[in-house]
């Protein structure tokens, strides 16, 4: 009977462990194995080739620039997302008529497929007839429709800026909601105490609200870092990582490698995978996660 009771959790958790094993753990094993194999674009395995895939990967002329771009992509998108979300959360935490309606608008980019949002912006940035360009033309920012200036996605710098904007746009709802739920956890008497001490609203925000929001911000930022690092639909739909690899992040680069050399794509995946682990561990360490959040 006692043995049976001890076995019981295994029965309750068994299906979950099996599902995680099949969908999450086993692919990692296959991925690591593939990274040491020579595999063509069609998936035919020609045999083990040691560390060739890794050496080829590190010698790719675009490898370093893709990694640097990935860092910029993640840092800029997450930092701006958190910053804007702090403001939005403050706003939507106020009481005003129709607040629920405005919150429903806020969740749309979160509920909709990111792929659809990316396609809307790809269309809106069309150099000839895209609605953003038409509006910019009306107000005189874009001189001629169809010109190079209107071809935002054809120029790597402006393409990256627009794609970052889209990535921020789709990350804002979750981040704002996470901070909103953090705001609700702050008891009102904390503010009363600050007000009695004569703190202005801005001072009390910096000295009282922000430190108390730290756990919510840290969690939201971490989840965003993982999401933004792995983000695929935005860049893939808007530029396919081009021209060349000039707007590729490491996720897009890996998917592009997969078309021709699965083995090397597996090596890139393993590298990305390690990178995520390193980023998360460093993040947990530098933010003193256990004291702040856990």
């Amino acid at each position: 009977m006692l043995a049976l009771r001890r076995m019981a959790p295994a029965l309750w958790l068994g299906p979950a462990i099996a599902l995680i094993g099949v969908v999450v753990l086993w692919p990692v094993v296959v991925m690591v194995q593939s990274s040491f194999q020579q595999i063509g674009g069609e998936g035919f395995v020609a045999g083990y080739n040691g560390t060739t895939n890794y050496r080829n990967l590190f010698h790719e002329p675009d490898f370093v620039s893709v990694l640097l771009r990935t860092v910029v992509w993640v840092v800029v998108v997450v930092a701006l997302t958190v910053l804007i979300s702090l403001g939005l959360a403050q706003l939507f935490n106020q009481k005003f008529p129709g607040r629920q309606v405005t919150r429903w608008a806020l969740i749309i980019p979160w509920a909709a497929s990111v792929m659809m949002t990316a396609l809307i912006f790809k269309w809106a940035l069309d150099p000839n007839v895209g609605v953003i360009n038409v509006i910019l033309h009306h107000i005189g920012v874009v001189k001629h429709l169809g010109s190079d200036q209107a071809d935002w996605l054809g120029n790597p710098t402006s393409a990256l800026a627009w794609m970052m904007a889209v990535a921020i746009f789709v990350s804002l709802p979750f981040t704002t909601y996470a901070i909103l739920s953090g705001l609700q956890g702050i008891p009102g008497d904390v503010y009363e105490a600050a007000a009695i001490d004569g703190a202005t609203s801005w001072r009390s925000y910096l000295a009282v609200t922000l430190p108390l929001l730290r756990p919510a911000i840290l969690v939201a930022a971490l989840i965003n870092v993982i999401n933004v690092f792995n983000s695929f639909p935005i860049i893939w739909e808007m530029t396919r990582g081009g021209p060349g690899y000039e707007t590729s992040t490491s996720t897009i680069y890996m998917i592009d490698l997969k078309q021709g050399d699965v083995g090397q794509a597996a090596a890139m995946s393993v590298f990305n995978f390690m990178l995520v682990i390193v980023i998360v561990v460093v993040y947990l360490g530098t933010t003193r996660w256990k004291e702040q959040v856990g």
Binding site: V23, P27, F92, I120, F121, S181, I223, P233, M254
Partner: protein, 296 residues
Amino acid sequence: MITTTKPAAPLGARRRTTGRPALRSRRPLRTWVITVAAYVIAAIFLVPYLEMLIMALRPNNELGLATILPKHWTFSNFTTLWSSGLGGSIGTSLEIAAGATVIVLLVALPAAYCTARRRFRGRGAFLLLVLSTQMFQPAAMLVGIQREFTNFGLPPTLSLIIVNAGFNLAFAVWILNAFFSSIPAELEEAAMVDGLGRVGALTRITLPLAAPGIVTALIFTFIAAWNEFLVALTLSLGQSPSQQPLTVAINNYIGEYSVDWGHLFAAGLVATVPVIILFAVIERRVVSGLTAGAVK
């Protein structure tokens, strides 16, 4: 490190504790500014999707016109949508989303209940395992997923059901764990003393009380599987368009030389509007499911 948590209170339920209501009534201008700002921002979030509607209602012969609004409006994109097999894709996406949701609930309910009610060796390790799956997204291990499921030789729809279930399990386990933990065990014991039995206590007391959590997990998984694009694109490659999931089928409107924007956005609306409405139902509880694991 891993403890239990209460489900988050609905946003706004405790708003009086965070604002300063006494001041607000004396400052009507402030309320005005806040209201206007909030509506402007709400409009910014809505406008891209409104553009999707405008484009879907624009006649094809006006696609080349540089105007914000079309001169004429037409529903023809919606009526001609179905001849390209979109109905089949909607069916495929429904199968995948419903299948993944059923599996997630069947698998997550016992796991969440057990970890909420009992303390046993390996409990922390299990919750950590669940959390780590939230860290590793399909994009990071696409090569492994593709090779594994191609070798299995399963039909793509079934593979996509399993993959989507696996990657949404964490959310369901966390939010259900939070709900079960918030229901006192004494309530179940009392029901059992009253003669309901263990099964009766579970189905008549615990599950109804956890219903908001179950609905949230259900809708969240359904939406995530419905919207999933990368794995769907990879595993349904080479399938006939009507058997591909909706997200992939929508991408088929992008040809090599031209894009069928009218149909693309009409199909996009069909794919998007239902999930926005569903999401509005669970809006207030989603955050706790996404962050509970990291916080605890």
